[in-house]
Amino acid sequence: MTSPDTARPRATDAAGPAPPQGPAPAAAGRTPSRPRLPWRPSGTDAVQTTASLAALVLMILVFSVLDAQFRTWGNLVAVVDAAAVLAVVTVGLTFVLLLGAIDLSVEGVIGACALTVALLVANSRTGLDLGVLGVVATVALGAAFGLLSGLLSTRLRIPSFLTTLGVYAIGLGVATILFSGERPIVGDPWLSGWASSKFLGFAVASWVAAGAILVGWLIQRYTRVGRYAYAIGGAEDITRLSGVPVARFKTAAFAVAGAFYGLGAVMATSQLGSGVVTAGSGLNFSAIAAAVIGGTLLVGGRGGVLQSMIGVLVLTVLQNGLILAGVSPYAQQAVQGVIVVVAVAAATWPVRHRLGVVK
């Protein structure tokens, strides 16, 4: 049972002055006028997103000045193509973060899905050649893993940090079993084409990613799963009070996320050319970081798919730019860390006093 009395703090920044409200018809006579003041307590996520966008632009400008290679069309294509898998994974993760939950299962799920898709399409190990169907099945498997994370979190009532850590391990186990000592080499030209063929200058995979982002945005904007994710992240108890079956929609959001991880695994597999257990290595942290940098904060209910994509670009541009700028591989990691913090801090600095509680 949740009573509204246990509601956590909310909208503490909303106690300020109001936008104008006309006199109510029923209240005759003494209606005080409500002047609009220059400052309105608008959502702090707009601030965060503007900050990240500013950081991205700043970074692009600096690299463009530093390095002539950076500002070429070819490099733009390279950045976009390099961002594709991370983008798809981050779209999925965004739904979990909107809930205020976290997902650490990404690499495990991708591992299991990478092996699955490699074994389902034409490959060097199984006699199967399912093509598109194999891809669809893989995305469904991703969704099933997400469903598992969601069900465990909501039905056993355990923090998602741990359930997804567990599902990560389970996914890794499944991947290892499917691998069984021999990498399946992808022989399906259509799937390989995602990575190697170009369409309008960009790799097919990048267009797949663009489509995935669009779908993600549509889900976020136009479906219950998306809108309720915001509601749950904004105030889970209140959402439950309104009669929304919270657990069911939380679970659904995890499943949606899992489907995107599955698609990410398919894309990674097409790029790598064979089923690799560690196909997702490093992606989990990068995706969380990208989302948070873009303004999809861990507290839930803030940011969104498009905001997260800003973060994806920040990370990808940074990686690309540092290599092109010739920063020594030994120093890259340190420089990258410092730049992320400095960029976000600098962009937030002018508006820091308008931010509510920052955890």
Partner: protein, 509 residues
């Protein structure tokens, strides 16, 4: 209005709910008849909210029955209660801040605005607009809820609960738990008009600590105490004073506002001098408060008076101004530095800004001046217990024990703990009170008034923002009136020569 003949739409018999150390409902019985407005009054902690929550399935009673339309039901939750026609506006606000107003109004009941799982935003806004029109509100359904004022959000909640009309075919019952405590006069008028309209289709249960309101709007009033109905009265036969008696079960000794305790402070030294204080919401504000003086600040929402309080306490940034405290320069830094200079602050949003709900009464009480219960850096549990028990006794705080989580206390008792938090400081120089009696029952209010008087009499300067002008005028020595971010006038409100509220109201608008 007499609806007594009709069979009740909602009836409760012998409802009981126990919490560790308290019996919130103690065999409560009451009923609501068709098209009736039922008033519920009672002290803080009398069990009003618990009763209403058990009527929407949020509290599972230990014993007793709930009948809806004559049939006994076991309510499983808000959605279930809604399906049998019971909806509620909660005492603590319950909107999702990061959603639009339209989504909040229709949350969980989107009906035709969501087709095959897909949102139709246009329909969404139109449906929400219908609800807002019912209460004559001009709030934009597309606005994000966290950009609204507290009062506007309250109106959205009312609009939201009215969706119940569309959802059921029978006669709904709408439960309003203190809907007016943060509304202003015009908004209250709108709400009452709405209740009048609503009763044509529904029955209403109305909870408020403002007895005149209850008398104005109700057909019947139940008086609750200690989880039981102690009286049922006909509003046409009683006045607010009678209710007051019934409620606190005793003669109110002296005046409600303890006027007799107001002390002159004309000769006292100036405690706080504010010159040209500016923030985002106020501009060039100057005033002073003497030791022992209660200074009220009047103004409508948006007048900037809350900014003044918050800036003085260091809770928001000020862009300019000089402040002295006892003639020493006083830096507007952080709440921490303000507290260290002997300033205290009672915020208006108690639940989020005033208390740490899961922590104990003792911890909440000693929070700001934990040094009082420490030797060096070491906490002295015994000393703390003694101190807390002293203040619990002195202020009559109703709590099962000092270790009880403060979040489970009634609002009035929570507020007393927050006041005690500052009173334990012997050197308290200035106390800023932002709506200190919001949500308190008449008895608790009276207690708080007495405390404010005592503090002032002991030499503490008090800056007061109040729910009602009457209250402010009664408590203050002077009232500063603010409008559009600047001070427009100062009105003297000395003992024995209190001005009519209209005088101040005219300056405010």
């Amino acid at each position: 209005m007499t609806a007594s003949a009709a069979a009740p739409v909602l009836a409760v018999e012998g409802l009981t709910k126990r919490y560790p150390g308290v019996t919130a409902l103690d065999g409560m019985s009451f009923e609501v008849r068709p098209h009736e407005v039922v008033g519920l009054i009672g002290e803080n902690g009398a069990g009003k909210s618990t009763l209403l929550k058990s009527l929407v399935g949020l509290v599972t009673p230990d014993a007793g029955t709930i009948r809806v339309g004559g049939e006994a039901v076991r309510l499983r939750g808000v959605a279930h209660a809604g399906s049998v026609g019971i909806g509620m506006v909660f005492q603590e606000q319950s909107l999702v801040p990061n959603l639009t107003v339209a989504e909040n109004i229709l949350l969980g009941a989107e009906r035709s605005a969501v087709r095959a799982g897909f949102y139709r935003w246009r329909a969404m806004k139109a449906l929400a607009q219908e609800q807002l029109d019912k209460i004559g509100s001009r709030i934009d359904p597309g606005a994000r809820t966290d950009t609204l004022t507290f009062a506007q959000r309250q109106m959205v909640e009312v609009a939201k609960v009215l969706t119940i009309e569309e959802r059921i075919t029978g006669e709904p019952v709408v439960l309003l738990d203190e809907p007016t405590s943060v509304l202003e006069r015009d908004e209250i008028a709108t709400l009452f008009a709405q209740i009048e309209r609503l009763r044509r289709r529904a029955s209403v249960v109305f909870v408020s600590h403002r007895l005149d309101e209850v008398l104005e709007v109700s057909d019947r009033v139940y008086v609750l105490r200690n989880g039981q109905v102690v009286a049922e009265v006909d509003p046409s036969t009683v006045d607010a004073t009678d209710l007051h008696h019934l409620l606190i079960g005793r003669e109110s000794g002296g005046s409600h506002y303890h006027d007799e305790k107001q002390k002159e402070c004309d000769g006292a030294p100036v405690r706080l001098r504010v010159s040209d204080l500016s923030t985002a919401g106020c501009d060039g504000v100057s005033f002073e408060i003497r030791a022992g003086e209660v200074l009220g600040v009047a103004g409508v929402q948006g007048s900037g008076r809350e900014d003044v309080c918050r800036a003085l306490f260091g809770a928001i940034r000020s862009s300019g101004g000089r402040v002295t405290l006892d003639d020493q320069p006083f830096r507007l830094g952080s709440p921490r530095s303000a507290v260290r200079s002997g300033v205290g602050y009672v915020p208006s949003e108690r639940r989020t800004d005033g208390i740490v709900p899961p922590m104990s009464v003792a911890e909440n009480l000693s929070m700001a001046h934990v040094g009082e219960v420490c030797t060096g850096p070491v906490l002295q549990a015994k000393r703390e217990r003694g101190l807390v028990e002293h203040w619990v006794r002195r202020l009559g705080i109703k709590t099962p024990s000092p270790e009880t989580a403060i979040g489970t206390l009634s609002g009035g008792n929570q507020q007393k703990v927050v006041l005690a938090r500052w009173m334990i400081d012997d050197d308290l120089r200035l106390l800023i009170l932002d709506h200190p009696t919001r949500g308190l029952d008449v008895g608790a209010k009276s207690d708080v008034y007495a405390l404010i008087r005592d503090l002032a009499a002991a030499g503490c300067a008090v800056l007061l923002l109040s729910d009602t002008l009457e209250e402010m005028i009664a408590l203050s020595h002077r009232v500063v009136v603010m409008k559009d971010g600047v001070v427009v006038t100062t009105v003297e409100t000395p003992k024995g020569a209190k001005p009519d509220p209209v005088v101040i109201l005219e300056e405010m608008v």
